[in-house]
Subunit: 350 residues, 2 copies
DNA sequence: CTGAAAGCGCTTACAG
DNA sequence: CTGAAAGCGCTTACAG
């Protein structure tokens, strides 16, 4: 039976604690820092006293004496999307295994400078940005960190000058999707939410164009977008209304490529509500490969972001900078996503 | 155009910084701490110099001088379930608005003492536990914190001795579910994953029994559980196989109450695969009211946890302890969940 | 506003 | 192992 912790004022300094144990402050410090040349009896006495009193050395004093903080700042766009959270979770676990503590903060609009200052005042050894941020603001922060010599890595956000970054090759993902659908006999494609030409060569649009060209399918004739007809607020609803509009078209596409899983699922609902069979009369694909893809009817083909790999590489890029001279050129690493074929597209046309 | 931050060694102390600004260290400290009686010109000079150099005062030194850390430790069971993440997100936002910094950690099995020590060494002003933990271990940590006089609150986990806690009235949620289904004409209920008699009066089972009794429906005759037939690994699959087994029963229940949304959705798949119409031939309800409930076919009736309210109350309980003498009796607050009726159960039986 | 000084709780040589 | 001492980067009276 463990002794009940005393309800009196807790011990707050090594001096007080050393008096309690009956050892010198120096000796206690040595035990706490696992230094060699100590009698096992002494170590035990200190351990026991720590259990009895619950004493913990003040981290602020420890680090003030020059000991590295072993702390990494993680700046999140939000904690709302499953992929963002998975990245955070994977990163935190990985950092923890390397004995780093994470300082996790969600960036509120316009607060990036304040947030980075907070991280710096906590003397973090590096900062990770996960998600999408106002580009000029992020660029400014990266410039400051580079000026400071504080390591960083930007995950997901492509195109920030002088930023070390890790990005998903979304183009490659769409190439796989298009190849798969073409192999299943599809020649006409509805694009849902993929109207923006983002991310240059790593962007979805680039991949779609590239893949179609490789099959000698003219992009303009083979693809159709109705994004302009509907407002995107709730992704699921957006997909549903898009699908409803597509369903009324005379020569409607046989395959539907959605920006993400929620839009894809909404699309399936919309098409099914219009009496269309999936995948018999229409193939649908999502993006992100959330758990939910296995729970829909039919199950949804999607593109997996390879989050573990992304985070592994991100951490490598970040930790590789610690204690090294600053790099002159930004590091750019690309992650290849992976197509996961499920029922919603797995049907051979005519 | 902002000046490019200098690439030279950053300024790391007020002494150095004061020299840079051309003011006394004392004066700089006063500006940083927004103390009165300073010329606006002086304040501006310091501000400008901070922008130029990116200098941030060392938080470890600041707090060592006795300034409160304004830090709260948040101990999460995991970051895997949407509800857990929503709670974390809401809590962090709320604490931030009160000018508290969050230290977020995920508890790895058996590491609770180490984690709490880490929080204490960071001199947090309180600790929040979110999720379910090994009860004896959590009880031990709570005892230690009480001994220390460190404020805490336990969210979700009921029954920890001497813990201040906020819990969902799951019984109340199930009462609402049962009342709703009885009103729709149901008299026989399949229980999916709800075989354990957890949480006493706040537990689901208690609510189901209570509600059935109020309608003079004998619990033993009216409910059926097949949980023992299948192993619960993946909740969705668990629901699917449970439903398949229920479908083979001669006198199968007309309504199905699932432990959570994933099981409910699996159940819908299983029942539909057996050719049953939902809600025409079987009603299904979930628990947690995740976004996904609006994306299934049919959409899923579920019980909303009222996360914002839970977190609001949790923060109130925690922050209310700071700077106050320790309470002799633990605070227990209950949150009432809210039934959200959707298609999966919204059908009047014969 | 300046400047010198004390002290927060540690770690780390140093001499015994 | 002990004990006295210096110093990390701050804040806060205190005298000018």
């Amino acid at each position: 039976m463990k002794k009940k912790p005393s309800a009196r004022r807790p011990i707050t300094s090594t001096a007080e604690f050393a008096r309690y144990v009956g050892l010198a402050r120096t000796t206690v410090s040595r035990v706490l820092n696992r230094q060699p040349g100590l009698k096992s009896n002494t170590i035990e006495r200190v351990q026991r006293a720590m259990d009895e009193t619950g004493f913990t050395p003040n981290a602020y004093a420890v680090h003030l004496k020059g000991k590295s903080t072993s702390t990494i700042g993680i700046c999140m766009e939000d904690l709302l999307t499953p992929t963002a959270v998975k990245k955070l979770s994977a990163l935190q676990r990985l950092l923890r295994s390397r004995h780093y503590t994470s300082l996790i903060e969600v960036l509120e609009p316009g607060q990036s400078q304040r947030l980075v200052r907070h991280f710096l005042s906590m003397r973090v050894e590096g900062i990770v940005f996960i998600g999408h941020f106002p580009p000029e603001e992020l660029a400014q922060r990266i410039a400051e960190l580079n000026g400071h010599g504080t390591p960083h890595v930007v995950i997901d956000h492509v195109g920030i000058p002088n930023a070390h970054s890790v990005t998903l090759d979304r183009a490659g993902g769409m190439v796989d999707v298009v190849n798969h659908l073409v192999a299943r006999g599809h020649r006409s494609f509805g694009l849902l939410g993929i109207s923006a030409w983002l991310h240059g060569k790593l962007g979805r649009m680039h991949g779609i164009i590239q893949a179609l060209a490789a099959h000698r399918l003219p992009f303009a004739q083979c693809t159709r977008s109705l994004d302009h007809l509907h407002k995107r607020e709730n992704d699921f609803e957006f997909g549903r209304t898009l699908a409803a509009s597509f369903a009324t078209l005379k020569d409607r596409p046989t395959a539907y490529l959605a920006l993400n899983d929620a839009i894809a699922i909404g699309t399936m609902h919309g098409l099914q509500a219009a009496g269309l069979d999936i995948p018999g009369e229409a193939a649908v694909t999502g993006f992100n490969n959330q758990e939910i893809c296995a729970m829909t009817r039919p199950t949804l083909t999607s593109v997996d972001q390879q989050i573990e790999e992304t985070i592994r590489v991100g951490a490598e890029v970040l930790l590789g900078q610690i204690g090294q001279p600053p790099r002159s050129k930004p590091i750019l690493r690309t992650i290849e996503p992976k197509l996961v074929i499920r029922q919603s597209s797995d049907f051979q046309l005519g």
